[in-house]
């Protein structure tokens, strides 16, 4: 018979338990990040928004989501906005044709639009309703759409790219938004900046009107030029107020 010293296992278990609790505090925050619900029409963002070089049409994001720079809500394109092109553009592939036919059904082309219905898009990006997120403030401050929404121009099926949880928001508000990273996200590192006159980027690199010069310029022209230079100094990061009442009221 010998003295047994199995007791050391118990504190070990305790440590594991505490670790599990702490981990679960973080993992409990799991958002719907990554969710990619089926949409009533399988709208191909790459076809529309990707740059011409990449085989897209290079449409500006604001072409369809046209309130993003004037309102808290971005707005979804009206059915007749879609029909503006798709009256004549009928698609090249069989799958594409089928989807455009769905759009026609919504637009009720058969009855000259008499019973047109809106397309019930399934919402992907949503902050809780006690959070006031004005798109206009962010877009006009030069935050590229891709910073939060991910590279939608490359998503065959849109999914929630960022976690959209509070820590994620706050990180940017406190540490600042790096215009360079934002521009990179929008794909601007692949083309020469000389193409653009500077301004607020509303679209992807290579899009037809990637930069809207008419808008109040929140990003100076040299910011654009610096995109390719080295690390952004912290003074040039765009920060926002981060007390609670900035978003919660």
């Amino acid at each position: 018979m010998t003295q047994q010293r199995k007791w050391t296992a118990i504190p070990g278990l305790l440590v594991l338990a505490i670790g599990a609790v702490v981990l679960s505090a973080y993992s409990g925050a799991s958002s719907s990040q990554g969710s990619a619900p089926d949409q009533p029409i399988a709208f191909p963002h790459p076809k529309h928004a990707a740059s011409v070089e990449k085989g897209g049409l290079g449409l500006n994001c604001l072409y369809c989501h046209n309130n993003a720079n004037r309102s808290a809500d971005v707005g979804m394109p009206a059915v007749n906005t879609c029909m503006g092109c798709h009256q004549s553009v009928m698609g090249t592939t069989a799958a594409g044709k089928a989807e455009i036919q769905k759009l026609w059904k919504y637009a009720d082309v058969a009855n000259m639009g008499k019973n047109a219905r809106p397309v019930p898009w399934v919402r992907i990006h949503k902050v809780p309703e006690y959070v006031h997120f004005p798109h206009v403030r962010h877009v006009n401050a030069g935050v590229t759409c891709q910073t939060c929404h991910g590279q939608v121009q490359g998503m065959p099926k849109v999914y929630q790219a960022a976690s959209l949880n509070m820590g994620w928001c706050v990180n940017c508000h406190v540490n600042g938004y790096d215009p360079k990273e934002g521009m990179k996200a929008a794909g601007y590192d692949t083309v020469t900046p000389a193409r653009y006159a500077g301004g607020v980027p509303y679209g992807t690199a290579g899009s037809v009107a990637g930069i809207m010069t008419a808008q109040v310029s929140a990003i100076s022209r040299d910011t654009e030029a610096r995109v390719h230079s080295a690390a952004t100094p912290s003074s040039e990061r765009r920060r926002a107020r981060y007390d609670c009442a900035a978003c919660h009221y």
């Binding site: 925050a29 509070m166 820590g167």
Partner: protein
Amino acid sequence: MATMVPPREERVLRQNVPSASNRLPGVKNYAQVDREIVGTLRPTLGWFALLGTAILCLLIGISTWMYQIHEGLGAAGYHPPVMWGVYIVTFVFWVGIGHAGTLISAILYLFRAGFRTTIYRASEAMTVFAVMTAGLFPILHLGRPWKFFWLIPYPNWRLIWPNPKSPLVWDVFAILTYLTVSATFFFIGLIPDIAVLRDQEKNPIRKRIYAALALGWRNSDNEWRHFTRAYLFLAAFATPLVLSVHSVVSFDFAMALTPGWHATIFPPYFVAGAIFSGIGMVFTIIIPLRKFFKLEHYVTINDLDAAAKLCLFTSMVVGLAYLTEFQVAWMSGNRVEQEYFWNRVFGQWTWAAWIMLICNMVLPLSLFSQKLRRNTSWLFALSIFINIGMWFERFVIVIPSLSHEFEPWQWGGYHPTWVDYNILLGSFGWFFMWFLLFIRQLPVMAIAEIKEIVQPRWRRHHDDSHDLDVQVIDPTLTLGDD
């Protein structure tokens, strides 16, 4: 492990627990202690009936709480500006009850008060269960109780933290610390006693449970050595803790600028009140316990007498605090304060204030009489009055103050509803459920500590032990007995 000691002549050992035999003259030897105390653990029909009642009360409380969560706090009797009601009153009440247990087990331990030994285990259990009960109420009274953990600083994805300047966060720390430390203290003290149960238990399942709880305790000299030292340190920690916890609870009020709350006297006043109410509860618990468990020769009338003196003393401290409050208001020249105290004692809340004053200040004065101090029936009756009085003390502090603040337009009243009462009842059910489980599953008295003051057997009679009742070896007790 044992170090070498210089060889010396065979020493004559001498007892140095002079009080042992006259403190507990009815307790003769170790075996008797085991027999009588372990003997209380057999469940009886009456116990099941009581336990059933307690669980029923608890279920009523739980279902009412569920209803309240679903409906919203409006189901309770809140009447703004009285934003805190029965729940906070009951919270402070239970925290206060808890204090006597720690006082008895820790402070009196440090002071080596003799009457502590037999009552401390039950009081300590009372502490743990009372704090467990009290800890529910701050959660229970929240508007969104499911968010209570936001008060605890834990790393989270929102990157936000609680406000450490808030007295409620201090409360979280104080109450959690108090619960942890008193439960630890309680459990550590129990280990050797559970080892006794483990060794005496016949039922294999219970034996296994006791064995697990005893943590492999073997009564070895090494264990006892660290145990006694750790126990002493825990007592040393628990002593300032017990004073701090109710001070922190009193900060909930004293840190506010509400008239009737905003007073520097609150910490000592609350601590004294807590100990007073706790001793009241100890009487409520111990007196029936010693009677029904036939342990009168353990908790002797002398012990009760000593505790009653403590009760009298704290009652007078509390009474002094009451009078000081009035005096401060009177002499403050602050109209808001004066009107509030007038309203408390002679206005809207006369009934509650006088229940408090009579139960806590007047009735305990009877303990100046030795005859009443040694009359268990009176002590028991008085303890009930004290419990009621101390509940109303908290009522008087919390509610009248809120109902009569700075803004006359917002003066109001308060009427609890059935929801408040059910939850109050549920809290008693919760407390007594644990307590009843405790008294039939674990020893209500500290076996080892009683053994410590009971005369051990001696081989020889000592000449100089004339003042001691020297023990005679009981020939029936041999190895393997029991």
